[in-house]
Each structure stands twice: as C-alpha cells, then as structure tokens.
Subunit: 150 residues, 2 copies
DNA sequence: TTTAGATCAAGAACTATTCTAAATAGGGTA
DNA sequence: TACCCTATTTAGAATAGTTCTTGATCTAAA
C-alpha cells in the first residue's frame, strides 16, 4: 500500500468536516502525519515536525488535533503496550507489527477478501465499531532481524 | 469458557517457576487475578483485593509481580487504548471486546480450528511471538446494550 | 461590526507506571 | 543452626505521557 487518496474534505484549508473546522493547525498535524507515511509517529514526534511548518504550534494543540482527527475518523490512534500512542493516516483495515529486533512498527494488510473479525466467535447481536490488532515479534525483513531468528 | 486448569507449577506456594520464586506476594497477586475471573482488573484493582489477603503488600509489589508473571507467561497484560493496563489469567488465544455501552471487557474466543493470524498477510520470515486483538463496540448482551444498537 | 462559540497556547495538573534505596526474606552452604 | 548471598519487597520519589485550565485569538454568521 504505497499511495492513497482521502475521500474526506480535509486537504483544503479551513473547510468543515463533520461540523468541525479544518484549521491551519489541524491541517499541519494531518499533513505531517501523512508525510511521515508508514512511520507511525508519536505525538511528540509529530510535534517536532509540525513546529517546523508552524513554529507557534504547541504540544497541547497537537494532542487536541490528534484527538479531533481521530474522532472524525480521519486518522487512527495505534496503541502498542503502554508505550506512547502512535498515529497513523492509513485508514484501510490493517494490523500493526512491532519488531522487537529493529523496533519499528509495520502495517500488516488483510489478505485478499479476508475479514478481520472472521476468525473470532463474536456474540450474536454484537457490533464492532473499531478493531486494533497488534503483533509483536521479529519482522525478518532486515538482515539483522533475519539473523535474530533462532 | 468457564473453567480452566493451569498446567504451570504456580498454585503451590514458594515453588520455583522458570528460575523465579513463587513468593507469597506473587501467589496472592496470581490468586486475586484468577479469582476475578473474566473481569480484567487493573493493577490498582488487583491491589485492593490483594491487600485484603495480605495487608502488607504494596502497589509497587503488585506491579512487580504482574510484570514477573507476565514475563513468565503465566498471565497476560491487556492494553486497550491508553487506559490503565488490565491483566488476564486466560492464556488461551483470545481477543478482547470493550463495550462502549456497558464499559465491560469481554473475552472473545477464536472460532474452532481458526488461527488468529490467518487473515493477515504477514511478511515471509516474520515470527509472531504475541498478538493482541482489541475490539470496541456494542456487545449486545445486556438489555441496555441491545437497545443501544441503531 | 458585533457576537458567540470554537480553537489555540502555555503551563499546571494528573495518572499510571517505573525507579531508587533501604529493609527483608529465603535458599544454599559451612 | 548460623551465615551469606541474592532475589524480592516496601515506601516514596520520580518520570512520561497525556489531559485540563485559563485566558487569548480566531472564525463564521448575524
């Protein structure tokens, strides 16, 4: 999954989305997150980049924006263990893989035509509005991680 | 899933497990967690119950014990969003469902002969050592949650 | 232009968790 | 049994991440 277009009116400045304003700050936070692509930055990391684009922005505002954008369903919060929350502009159903060896977070896509909830025996009448899947292990992608495997 | 027997030498006092001592405190913490069954208590909640059984126990010790027991693979830590970590003595592969309506956490079992990772297209050579699946929504189990559904 | 409400910035406050240091406990050995 | 060594516990301080509070600023609508 390399490129993706949002069908949400969020790339134009100061436009409404879901009754909320797309302010300069929210736009900056979103742009920074989108620019960082697959890196799943934390709020603090986003703050660093956002400050380059808008020096007056505060950490509290970054948190506010991330919460607003998450609530609007435009980005997703990714929680792995108790570490700082990470954020992700990839809205397709996907899991996260944290590599114990290289300490990176990877997106894991659903298999073709698979359903994320299909392996779970959910109670009748239940409705899943959100699902977070986090795996941990060795990614086996970089040389060091390949040698790490026993 | 109502009853379950642990095949881990942990129910007898002060016995070794994986080179570690099963101390009184660790036993109490484990017992409290097992007694709370499906309730997925937080460290603070475990502390309250543990203090009844052993008034001298400290919160730091509860945290220590939970970490030790988790590391020994005897219990699991459950992280949902950024809320306080919850703990769980159910070691079978299962997911967690947080009900937005009744605010409870339910265990969701794997379907018969299903594999939790099977729907995800993991990179070749990767190895998953742990997987956390958290769903959020309406459980539809209690009357109030049933009426909540649109 | 005025007004009302949304949003922002800065820093204080809060919560869950980890760390530190000293005391204690328990197992192995003499 | 007495001693030693190490693991563990305790209590409280410290920390990290996040949320809250307050007053200022911005925006859209009237």
């Amino acid at each position: 999954m390399a490129e993706k277009t949002l069908d949400i009116p969020i790339s134009t400045t100061a436009e409404d989305f879901g009754g909320l304003r797309m302010t300069k700050q929210r736009q900056v936070v979103y742009d920074v997150l989108a620019a960082l692509g697959r890196e799943h930055p934390t709020a603090a990391e986003i703050f660093v980049d956002a400050k380059e684009r808008m020096p007056s922005i505060s950490l509290a505002t970054v948190y506010n924006c991330l919460e607003t954008l998450t609530g609007a369903g435009v980005i997703r919060q990714v929680c792995i263990d108790r570490a700082a929350a990470r954020y992700c502009a990839n809205l397709t159903p996907h899991a996260h893989f944290y590599c114990d060896c290289c300490e990176k977070v990877f997106d894991i896509e659903l298999k073709d035509s698979a359903e994320a909830t299909s392996v779970w025996s959910l109670p009748k009448g239940s409705k899943v509005t959100e699902m977070q899947v986090a795996m941990r292990g060795i990614c086996g992608l970089c040389p060091r991680c390949r040698s790490e495997e026993s």
